[in-house]
Subunit: 326 residues, 2 copies
């Protein structure tokens, strides 16, 4: 049996009947060990930059709306990418914006992608960056990680294993996410220091007392995560730290010794896996480098078929991360 | 002709053929004057707290999934609420989480609600609180305020007139939202000081130099909004300031003299319209008090039918805001 056919018990499965839900940090540590990879495949399917084969697969059915056809192409593209690189990855990270822009058909496509990732043995981190007041935060948490009670029966959520969350609204806005995530064996990745240049505008600013906003958020993450540390030593409350900010990484890691660090921005945005060693201090699953365009679009710069170029790019990143974390 | 049948030219209409797009501040000022109201109806449709009549309207069709039936009930509920109170309002503010939790059928329901609001002559502010790196921010902006190009044709976005946005990622993450909003006559409401208790954790903290994080964001909002100030004196880049924080309002208003302030948290969350006078400094359309549960759930505390109780509650809030802003 190949690695990717090993089923990863998802949040929904974890809830069914079982009295004990395995904490996210332990689920992740086991998955990283099993797959010998920490690589996260970012899925940001721009409808004008899909693999040619996906457009072919989505062809026909001219009676359908542009949204329905584009959503079918997006789903086909993501399935092809997952098939091409799943062997080298531990998780996928679909970016919600690219599905939402296609409306209801986009949400159907997103569900299909989650299903395809799960069938390939991959964890799913929904990159939604949600954040809102408590009652709304609970609704978002149930949408992505839980389920919704209605007078017509229970509506399942997206079934993601992890969710990115924005901390601007403070602790009471994060607690409902923590509650739902912990109850279903899922994890959170709270934005501590993002990968974009604009991170200097607010996140890198010093607060009175000398701590940066990012470091302050790191303290909040540690506090929320203490009750969710598993046997692996990893907590279910992690952080997003852009791979483009290695100079911030060491101190933020010290402030969050048990957090899993999701590290987007590898490749196209300029982040280098070689600079991320501090992320792996608590163990190999302590850091999850995430790459999107540098894998999915590798054929544009490297030549060859999209599938082979993506597989090669993912193999290199996986190997690099495994070595750096060893 | 009654007020609510006057069509409000939406972003899509503004784009068609016309060389000149009317700026959001001017569109809003005209709508406030025409409707003699600054009241925003918050729509947070909890599927377990819908109006009884909505459940009846959504009945039948037992072959449908719970999600499809719940989404139908949510759409019916929102339509009933809009019919009951539209006369007293200038805009609706659907909260995305309550639609997303129902998946693809939830997005269909959201589109229906936007359509119903538009038919009632109301502006639509999508309360999504999105924020992401630039390429993703553009995708979100096009999802809510613009349209998406695909190989299968153009996919229209939600068609909202306004969008709430989270500034944690800094200026470069906000600029794509500004560009799309300005190009379509829509507005942004950037989170400056939210209505929840947790706002003290980060937003109320002082930066080195003495300015709070909220005041720093206010400076960013003013800077982004300068090029979008209309003849009304109002900019297309506004701010969210919780009605629960009137002690913060005066200073933040001084830092954002042209911003439209969206003021959620009136009623159930404890905010009082009487305390919001500073919001209206640049004119009556300078402040938009927003209430949800205190209107939609008024019948639970006041008795009577949901429709009549909601209409009464909205009438009181509208009158109060009009007086305070006079």
């Amino acid at each position: 049996m190949s690695q990717q056919s090993v089923p990863v018990v998802g949040p929904a499965g974890a809830r069914e009947g079982a009295a004990v839900v395995e904490l996210f940090g332990d689920r992740l540590a086991a998955a990283v060990k099993r797959r010998e990879s920490q690589l996260v495949l970012g899925l940001d399917p721009n409808p004008t930059q899909l693999w040619p084969r996906a457009l072919e697969l989505a062809g026909g059915a001219d009676g359908d709306s542009p949204a329905a056809r584009a959503a079918r192409a997006v789903a086909a593209h993501c399935r092809l990418v997952i098939e091409a690189v799943a062997d080298h990855c531990v998780a996928v990270k679909p970016q919600l914006a690219w599905f939402e822009r296609l409306g209801a058909p986009g949400w159907l496509a997103l569900s299909e992608v989650v299903q395809a990732a799960r069938e390939a043995g991959l964890l799913v981190v929904a990159d939604a960056k949600r954040g809102d007041v408590d009652v709304t935060a609970l609704a978002y948490a149930e949408a992505f990680l839980g389920e919704t009670e209605t007078p017509f029966g229970t509506v399942p959520g997206l079934g993601a294993d992890g969710l990115t969350v924005n901390p601007l609204l403070g602790a009471d806005s994060l607690e409902p996410f923590v509650k739902v995530a912990r109850g279903s064996g899922a994890g959170l990745f709270i934005l501590a220091r993002t990968s974009n240049p604009g991170a200097v505008d607010l996140q890198d600013r010093e607060l009175a007392g000398g701590m940066t906003v990012s470091a302050h958020v790191a303290g909040l993450i540690t506090s929320l995560g203490t009750a969710g540390i598993g046997q692996s030593g990893l907590s279910d409350i992690g952080a997003v730290i852009g791979a483009t900010a290695p100079h911030r990484l060491e101190r933020l890691r010290e402030a969050m010794p048990h957090a899993v660090l999701l590290l987007p921005g590898v490749g196209a945005q300029g982040g280098r896996v070689e600079d991320l060693a501090a992320a792996f201090a608590p163990g190999r699953a302590g850091g999850l480098p995430s790459a999107s365009r540098s894998i999915v679009g590798a054929y544009l710069s490297e030549g060859g078929s999209p599938e082979v170029a993506a597989n090669d790019a993912a193999a290199r990143l996986r190997e690099l991360a495994w070595t750096v974390s060893g």
